[in-house]
Amino acid sequence: MPLAAYLVLAALVFVIGLFGVLTRRNAVGILLGIELMLNAVNINLVAFARFRADLAGLVFTLFTIAITVAEVAVGLAIVIVIFRVRRTIEADHLDLLRG
């Protein structure tokens, strides 16, 4: 398969994740969309690493995977705290910081 096929696939997954982030009301649903977008980035990194025979792409993929895990842990902890305090995780209702 040519490099472009992998890039198109990654772009598709990225915009699907973007769509999820924009349209979901539930905070956990938004986090799932972010997961999809980061996943698409990983596909891009690995594809470029393979086609350019450059190991840095693989190392960066490892780093982004680890950082994503940390991000999910903190994000879900925040979601649980918000839920405890506000009894909702609908993003529309969380407007405490709105000016």
Partner: protein, 162 residues
């Protein structure tokens, strides 16, 4: 030939599961679809001759992340006492914006010329280990610090009130 078939299967599963993640009304089902999408991504990594990343993907993403999200949903759902249905808003606007971003990315992809795929060479895992211990040693240590800080922070947030 096998690569083309494998790529098509993985791509169809990946795109279908991703669409299900953002469209299904049941949040729990969305997480299960996300697991399917992440495993399909692992399949793409295999096609790109990166079996090590495939293993990492399964362990950390499909194993770790999905488990954490399922736990969070079960916690909040139990507290609510009702199955969480989630609705979407601005579906049309979101679709338009996503399509525009896709078109823009396609513009860049089409500008790039075809790149020949080099022959897979050598022991990739050994080179990866050397890179992580050598030129990428400091970022790796920083990553460890970041993980500890993030997990401590998550623990602090989610601790029991007393």
């Amino acid at each position: 030939m096998t690569e083309i078939v494998g790529f098509c299967v993985a791509a169809v599963v990946l795109v279908g599961a991703s669409l299900a993640v953002v469209l299904t009304p049941n949040l729990f089902h969305a997480v299960l679809w996300l697991a399917a999408a992440l495993v399909a991504t692992g399949g793409i990594f295999l096609l790109l001759d990166s079996p090590f990343l495939f293993a990492v993907q399964l362990l950390l993403y499909a194993g770790g992340v999905v488990t954490i999200v399922v736990f969070a949903i079960m916690l909040t759902e139990r507290l609510v006492g009702a199955s969480i249905r989630q609705t979407s808003r601005f579906v049309f606007n979101g679709a338009v914006l996503a399509a525009a971003v896709f078109a823009a990315i396609m513009g860049f992809v089409l500008q790039g010329g075809a790149v020949a795929r080099p022959i897979a060479g050598g022991d990739q895992l050994r080179e990866l280990g050397r890179a992580l211990a050598g030129p990428f040693g400091v970022p790796l240590q920083l990553l460890g610090v970041l993980l500890v800080i993030a997990l401590l922070g998550a623990l602090y947030f989610a601790r029991a009130e007393d």
